[in-house]
């Protein structure tokens, strides 16, 4: 078989280069190997790719290797071909042409899928650089910016007008999505007492670019007490304090426990020089605690009758004296070895008379009935030990005594042998028709006995005068009113229950006090022994607010809703 093989090479769009080759063989083999009749020098073609031969039906081409043969577009392992047929073998296209004279078969061979420029191909295939891998800083930057701006800025601003404001009369709503959005702007933990409503910012923050106004606080806290007494001339201090917002001292968003500022500086800003700036306040300068804190001034009774009080410096000159009008000696009662009492031998202690009040802060007031009567009876007749006079009313005492003896006289049964017969008659014996003399005897006896009893009761030393300051002017017996103070330091809060571990005598030297006028309060030096400054490391940290209150209810409300900003 004579085969004319023409290799076509296209150059550009128009030019085709032809190179012809004559092959003489019965079987024409196509492939990469050099032993093939028609060598197709491309690595993509197998060593032996196809075989072409003349058969009875015509020219047959057959696949010889793994490479798929395609005849006129259709895959086929073999097929009969005629002029005009296109056969694809890998990247090559074989076209059967009309055989010219002297040849049995003519075909063209063209590399229709060149490999192209190796470098170009390599570069096209490579993905060098992270940007080629699809990562984009710009996309991510925009994306994250938008996400955070939306969630952090736009959304909270959008929900600001919504939400439920809580006041003392407006209820607390359930937590909803608006609250969660608003909470993203929360700069710090809300204090514990406010947490139950504070999920909505508008409850306190009523305006934009404006601090929390006082009326937001006053909507629930209208009764908060004042710090300054009304009517006193206090100079700038009153104006300064009125101009101070609640939020200046009470800072929210500082933590669960941090609502009230306890730093000394908050108080000493004014109190360090208060004696100069507001002399009428009667408050001494307190530059700091403990160094510089003045000695306590006890509020004692100056005149129990009015009553009037005075503040006197402990340990000062004049010595503080509490004129309670009660005659009482602690020393006489706090006898170490004890003494005999109506209920037996007793060693008295502080707790026998000083009973803590239910809150534990102070003690219940001292009363005769509560504290004294169990030992100090008010009997007036040795023969009749079951009778006592009432306590506290001179006129009632007189009436009681007189009534008693009159009753005795009427009742009879008096054992005194010197008494008139009428009163000595046995009890139950009916009264005989009274004769004038007998009546007078009975009356005289009763009066005499009453006088005798009252003589003891109203004696200079015995009776009432044993414990009370009495006066016998113009024949009238009066007992001076007694005023026992329960709190000698009313400007401070001292909680006894917090100091219950201490012994009373560590602070109060009652054992050696023989006079009730003694003021048995400890001075500041006793407190300072344990209570150090606000940042003390080896003493109890104490600030002004450890002992003093700023808001005092007894002074009326500090701000009113209309006056507050």
């Amino acid at each position: 078989m004579q085969v004319e093989v023409t290799f076509l090479t296209r150059r550009g769009a128009d030019a085709i280069m032809r190179k012809s080759q004559t092959v003489t063989a019965e079987v024409v083999r196509f492939g990469r190997g050099s032993d093939n009749e028609v060598q197709l020098p491309d690595i993509r073609v197998g060593l032996h790719a196809a075989v072409m031969a003349e058969r009875e039906g015509g020219l047959v081409i057959q696949q010889a290797g793994d490479l798929t043969l395609r005849i006129n577009g259709a895959s086929a392992a073999s097929g009969t071909v005629h002029p005009g047929d296109r056969i694809h073998l890998g990247p090559y296209e074989l076209v059967i042409a009309e055989a010219s004279a002297g040849f049995d078969v003519a075909l063209t061979v063209e590399l229709v899928q060149p490999l192209g420029d190796a470098l170009e191909r390599l570069q096209a295939e490579s993905r060098i650089g992270l940007i080629q891998a699809g990562l984009s800083k710009r996309r991510w930057s925009w994306g994250l910016f938008i996400v955070f701006a939306l969630l952090g800025l736009v959304l909270p601003l959008a929900v600001r007008p919504f939400g439920h404001v809580v006041t003392s009369s407006a209820s607390v709503p359930a937590v909803d999505a608006i609250d969660f959005v608003s909470l993203s702007w929360n700069p710090g933990e809300v204090s514990n007492p406010h947490r139950f409503f504070a999920q909505n910012c508008n409850t306190c923050h009523t305006g934009v670019l404006a601090s929390v106004p006082d009326r937001a606080c006053l909507s629930c806290h209208a009764e908060v007490g004042n710090h300054l007494q009304a009517g006193l001339e206090l100079g700038r201090s009153r104006a300064d304090l009125a101009a101070t917002r609640c939020a200046t001292c009470h800072e929210e968003h500082r933590g669960v426990d941090a609502m009230v500022i306890r730093a000394d500086a908050l108080c000493t800003d004014c109190h360090a020089t208060l004696a100069e700036t507001a002399p009428k306040a009667g408050v001494r300068d307190v530059p700091r605690y403990p160094v510089g804190h003045p000695q306590f001034r006890a509020t004692v009774v100056a005149d129990a009758a009015k009553p009037s009080f005075a503040r006197m410096v402990l340990g000062g000159d004049p010595k503080p004296v509490d004129r309670s009008n009660l005659v009482f000696s602690h020393a006489a009662h706090l006898v170490e070895k004890g003494f005999l009492t109506p209920s037996g031998f007793k060693v008295m202690t502080c707790a026998d008379c000083h009973i803590p009040d239910p809150g534990g802060q102070g003690f219940q007031p001292i009363t005769f009935e509560g504290q004294c009567h169990s030992c100090h009876d008010l009997k007036f007749d040795a023969d009749l030990p079951w009778r006592e006079v009432p306590h506290g009313d001179v006129a009632a005492v007189k009436n009681a005594v007189q009534d008693f003896y009159a009753h005795m006289a009427l009742q009879g049964g008096v054992l005194d042998p010197d008494a008139p017969a009428i009163v000595r008659r046995p009890v139950g014996t009916p009264l005989p028709p009274a004769r004038e003399g007998e009546r007078r005897d009975a009356l005289a006896w009763a009066a005499q006995r009453a006088d005798a009893a009252m003589g003891i009761i109203f004696d200079e030393k015995r009776g009432c005068t044993y414990c009370h300051v009495t006066n016998r002017a113009n024949g009238a017996f009066t007992v001076a009113p007694v005023f026992l103070r329960t709190r000698f330091l009313p400007q401070a809060r001292f909680d006894h229950s917090k100091h219950a571990a201490l012994d009373c005598a560590q602070c109060h030297d009652a054992r050696h006090s023989e006079n009730s006028a003694d003021v048995l309060l400890p001075g500041i030096e006793t407190c300072v022994a344990c209570h150090g400054s606000e940042r003390a490391s080896i003493k109890t940290q104490s600030t002004c607010t450890s002992c003093h209150l700023f808001h005092r209810r007894e002074l009326g409300p500090m701000k009113t809703a209309s006056a507050g900003k």
Binding site: S34, L115, R127, I128, Q132, G152, S211, R254
Partner: protein, 296 residues
């Protein structure tokens, strides 16, 4: 452009143009920006621990506001570096100076901003801004490490070539492989074809960074060729030996190119964290500042 200073007579004593000599950005101007940043941090610490507010330290005390303002301005200035970096025609200070300042003030910002928080943290946009800032700074610190560590590795790895040169050499090798593969077995030819047609250089971000190419066609070809050559004819074995030499060289250059890509990718990758997060920080910072003013 700077005017050149006259060349020294004894040019061996020290470099003629001191300012032209390369200084690592960390050491720029004898650690000038390091010293400045440390001074700023010390001043901030003194302010923070020296001032005793009546309550606790907090972003809203005057020291807090001061540190916060300084921090916010610092953040904006630090982000401006991204613009300055690309302003090639400008004269606003040398880029080295900007980079040195950026690095040291960025690190200092970590401390200044932490003091501004007063160590109050919570689940809110304010702490979110702080956390984003910390992530940005930490990623930046990693960037410092990359910029100090990788360039030398890259230079050593390249061994006086460049990526285009490596690619060109690989292309040439591909052509030579194609030419040398005429007489070999079909199976071997397929392996070589695959190596020529699918040379993986780069790829996904993970592939680029880790330089792991488990489906490397060249490696497969190398492995396959040996097996095939073992049972081939002596004439073919000559061809296979030639192929092997070519494939070996190609593998070596591929390894170098891929390693180069890996180092470059590491030097770029941290920026894909640093820059987007800094924009997230910008948004969060804006929210933080606006919220403080809205709820004064």
């Amino acid at each position: 452009m700077r005017a050149n200073s006259p060349v020294e007579a004894d040019a061996g004593a020290r470099p003629a143009h001191e300012e032209d000599r390369h200084t690592p950005f960390l050491m720029y101007r004898r650690f000038f920006y390091f010293k400045t940043a440390v001074a700023a941090v010390i001043v901030s610490c003194i302010l923070y621990w020296g001032y005793r507010p009546m309550g606790e330290p907090y972003g809203g005390t005057w020291v807090g506001y001061l540190l916060g303002t300084v921090g916010a301005l610092l953040i904006l200035w630090l982000m401006w570096f991204g613009y300055r970096k690309r302003a090639y025609l400008t004269n606003q200070g040398k880029l080295e100076a900007w980079l040195s300042a950026h690095v040291y003030f960025g690190l200092g910002l970590l401390i200044i901003a932490t003091l501004h928080t007063g160590f109050h943290f919570g689940w809110n946009i304010h702490t979110a801004a702080y956390v984003l800032m910390c992530l940005v700074i930490v990623s930046g610190a990693f960037g410092i490490y990359c910029y100090v560590h990788y360039p030398r590795l890259m230079t050593q790895n390249r061994a006086s070539t460049s990526m285009p040169q490596m690619l060109a050499r690989i292309a040439v090798l591909n052509d030579e492989l194609r030419a040398s593969a005429m007489g070999i077995d079909d199976a071997a030819a397929r392996l070589v074809t695959r190596s020529i047609e699918h040379t993986e250089i780069g790829g996904s971000a993970w592939q680029q960074i880790t330089a792991r190419y488990p489906n490397c066609t060249t490696a497969a070809a190398l492995a396959g060729i040996d097996a095939i050559a073992a049972r081939s004819t002596p004439e073919q074995q000559v061809a296979y030996r030639r192929l092997r030499v070519l494939l070996d060289e190609k593998a070596q250059i591929l390894g170098r190119a891929r390693r180069d890509i890996s180092y470059k990718a590491m030097m770029d990758a941290w920026l894909y964290v640093h820059v987007p997060l800094s924009f997230a920080l910008l948004a969060a910072l804006l929210a933080h500042v606006v919220s403080v003013f809205v709820y004064w």
